[in-house]
Symmetry: C2
Subunit: 400 residues, 2 copies
């Protein structure tokens, strides 16, 4: 009895939903527990090796460092790919803020790699309807943010000949709406309460939304791309907090005659203050934004990035840094592509021979370069390019 | 305590929702009680006289006979009309069956009169999505029925230069979808449960649907018709079982900056077997269909139309017919336009000088003519005409 109670409390303390991510009090997100609770699979080394072999290129840094750490049926997608059957990628973003932070870029950087490596089409959903309903945004402001965010997404380097970006307010209708209705028919209110935890006081827009995020998992939602290809598989790269939507979608898929969408899921990009959740767009000191200047980045890293180093140089030399809690090391793990250099830093820092200041200096360089590169790329994205990516059009060479 | 309990039971026994209409056991629908419970207003003689004056034509038979008996804010619409402000009409149909029965025609016959009399535009929603979700119909079958039903609706004589017919599967999207989202944001799950009585085991498609039926009440859902006319009033002729949708809509309207839609509401067209509810499309002997032959009509009226006449000619001559329960008299009240003739029949029949067989004979003539006329009109409705009514297009002369 006592034990049951305790485990229930623990369960309650770690919260991961599409709208809230919070670790147990004072702790980190327990990803093993999450895999167990959600019922997805760990992405192991043999799968990573298989991706490298099939794509004939080294696995992406976010894959080999275990940032993308869980999956559902990814091996089935690779089996099919090996037999010569292509698939399509689906990812998305809820446009709730003007400026993206580094955590927002993670799924897009990874998706771009998957698109290039597998040479497959990609659909990107901007859920302006969701943000209009969840945040108190007007339709117009949600749509404006969707277009602004589309520019950041395009700046990640997606191939316009294989990529369709759409906003729900623009695109919902026709075949997409038909799939929304078909999906909604298969899901009871009790079911969505179980998955998403809605209450009776929540508005019905929230209850209506899950089918909108589910619909892009089925190829018939995009007749201009996949007409006659109802059998095409879908692979969804996303952060693991989106898993509830796709658990629901996978439940429904066979009843509608589609493959269950496969997933490849990432952990959360930690806040500067430490790894207790996702970065928060509402707390500017918790995150590095793609709009931050070199000076902002230097300042934020030096002032806020939680250090695993010891409190005095003497102790640091003696005991070394605690890499498990050190945010600069975590961030380098996401963005420093050079395995040897990262290993060297980890060894020297962990042994106390390298100081926090030195590690932070290297991180500032890496992030400044990344952010500067993003900013330059974004500056070249014109409204015409946004229109081109968002045009409802066939993509004749999307698989080649 | 005892009394409260009893009134609750009575409340439970008369059921009027968009999906179920049932009188108290053995009784008739109590429309006075319904007006009280729903909180709408009785449509009195002074309003009918006002309609006649404003439109400079006699009020429609369905208006002067009290078939359309209740309203919400209809007088506000007339006030505005008198000031020179036009409005638009909105009605609809859930396409769940191939053939319409006479009860289905009632709102369309009346709407056609309103359109002609007031010279206003009209939008007609075919809720194929609703029927796909409520009945177990495929998307394709719901769409096919929507088009078939559109032909029957067009056959009622609507003016293509003032009428836009749309199916939800075709038309949901864009401005219409934006209004759906805005409406959904304003309505909690508890609220729709209170209004529509959904349970947790109902699928979320049902919970998502009310905003779809609400959206046409706002002019901005039709930018091709009412762009820049957000202040345009909407008048909805419908059977009173649809009131719950529009109570919800009226609640939401001011928060979105629109006029509350006004309503003009009819009682139900009774089944042949008697006035305990609506006719049922699933029981062919309960209704006259627009596809019935003259022989079918004669047969159904003679065999099934519930008579208020006495059980023997002697008693009938002595006591006269009970007009309150007599279905032929009710039906003549809907469809026999000649007031003097109806009054004559009522007097003679009520006094026992006219027999049930004679009244039924006259009813068969009236209905046969109506159904034959409808069938001839429907036979001339081509697919091109359906396309024309359903095309998303401006209607430049819709107010003139």
């Amino acid at each position: 009895m006592e034990i049951e109670k305790k485990s229930q409390v623990e369960e309650e303390e770690q919260i991961v939903t599409p709208w809230e991510v919070a670790a147990e009090k004072g702790g980190k997100i327990d990803y093993d527990k999450l895999i167990d609770r959600f019922g997805c699979q760990r992405l192991d080394q043999s799968l990573i090796d298989r991706v490298a072999r099939l794509t004939r290129r080294p696995p992406h840094v976010l894959l080999r460092r275990g940032v993308f750490f869980a999956h559902r049926d990814f091996s089935d997608v690779l089996d099919a790919y090996e037999r010569g059957e292509k698939f399509y990628l689906y990812t998305g973003r809820g446009p709730s803020s003007e400026a993206l932070h580094l955590g927002h870029l993670v799924p897009f950087m990874f998706t771009k790699y998957l698109q290039e490596a597998f040479k497959v089409p990609l659909v990107i959903q901007l859920t302006d309807d969701e943000k209009c309903m969840w945040k108190n945004l007007s339709v117009e402001e949600s749509q404006r943010l969707a277009r602004e965010n589309a520019k950041d997404i395009i700046a990640c380097g997606f191939d316009v000949s294989r990529t369709f970006i759409f906003s729900d307010f623009d695109y919902v209708g026709g075949s997409f709406y038909k799939n929304m209705v078909k999906i909604a028919k298969c899901v009871t209110y009790n079911k969505v309460v179980g998955i998403f935890g809605f209450s009776g006081e929540d508005h019905i827009g929230k209850v209506s939304f899950p089918p909108v995020q589910a619909a892009p998992s089925f190829p018939s939602s995009f007749p201009h791309l996949f007409s006659g290809k109802d059998n095409l598989r879908c692979l969804i790269p996303c952060a693991i907090d989106q898993d509830p939507y796709f658990r629901m979608t996978r439940d429904v898929a066979p009843r509608l005659g589609y493959h269950k969408p496969a997933l490849i899921e990432s952990s959360f990009f930690p806040a500067l203050q430490g790894e207790t959740g996702k970065m928060s767009a509402s707390d500017p000191t918790s995150a590095i934004y793609v709009t931050d200047s070199a000076k902002d980045i230097k300042n934020k890293i030096n002032r806020y990035a939680f250090s695993g180093g010891q409190d005095s140089i003497e102790n640091h030399r003696k005991y070394g840094a605690n890499l498990e809690v050190d945010i600069p090391i975590k961030y380098l793990g996401f963005f420093l592509d050079d395995d040897a250099e990262l290993e060297h830093i980890r060894t020297e820092y962990g042994a106390g021979r390298m100081l926090t200041g030195e590690v932070k200096k290297r991180l500032v360089e890496v992030l400044t370069e990344l952010v500067e590169r993003h900013r330059r790329a974004r500056a070249t994205v014109t409204d015409e390019m946004v229109d081109a990516f968002m045009a409802v059009r066939p993509l004749p060479n999307m698989f080649s």
